[in-house]
Symmetry: D2
């Protein structure tokens, strides 16, 4: 069953308060890997087929950010793992609109 | 300056795994108070004019959820308080698309 | 009834990856205001008498951090608002040890 | 380099507002796997040798909670991945006390 994960990255110790270039890099990685996502102003929701993928994805993101000069990243995640019903970005968007 | 706040509520001890009716109640409160928001699958981003409003809003939300029978709510917040530049939902959506 | 709030601050755009001096400032503010807290490696749990206090506390923290040169702060909060039973730091530490 | 991860689980749709038995199960899993942790009132900080382990650990936790009857778990994580300096629970506790 799909697992939904909200991700936000906070790069620390960069000298600029702007972090949008790092967020665009994350979206680029998601695109490349074919992971479905829904970008929101402060978080991005992704759909994973299996929770075991998560650590590899996060490591790849942080490795790429390190190449851009980021020496410390705090990542916030909210994972929604539902075992009784299929979960999806589309379904969640629909039910809150009813 | 505006402060952006991501909110997600997790009502505990309700007997159903579905929480969409509680999320719709939160959106109804935001509508009634005229607070600008951007709903996403798992979080809602709101724009506050002043951070001091936040506690009152959260108390109102939890009081309304209690009237719906919820005895315990865990709320997740990510607050983005930027002092060097105007911050807004629209601006944040724009920069990640570039 | 008491409300428990976990707080973590992530100052963005400072040139150093170390953020401990900002965390010590937060603890200093909590001490000065007589707010009970439990410091952990990455989050601090505080006890509030009333959720409406929260916005004022967060604003004071961010104002102090701004005086230290921080132009953007991302704050993570997890709020536990329980209406059926008294909640406290001591109680929560006890039940997880049983 | 070690990665520090704060974890909090919020089981949804259980009929009780108390979640301590689920938290004790998580600590039991961490003990069994020999993962170093620091329990706090609302979050547990763990030390991982490699971020790629994270997904497997989270899947194991949610599988065990499902066996206890939990059909939906929301998990909150804050990951601190520092590439410039060794990171550890002990180090972080020390620097906030100075």
């Amino acid at each position: 069953m799909k697992v939904l994960v909200d991700i936000a990255i906070e790069p620390l110790g960069t000298s600029s308060t702007s972090i949008s270039k790092y967020i665009r890099k994350v979206l680029e990685i998601l695109d490349k890997k074919g992971i479905k996502y829904y970008p929101a102003p402060s978080m991005t929701t992704i759909e994973l087929d299996d929770l075991t993928q998560l650590g590899y994805l996060l490591k790849e993101i942080n490795d790429e950010l390190e190449k851009m000069g980021v020496k410390r990243v705090v990542t916030l995640l909210k994972i929604d793992d539902r075992r009784d019903k299929e979960n999806s970005i589309d379904h969640k968007l629909e039910v809150i609109k009813k």
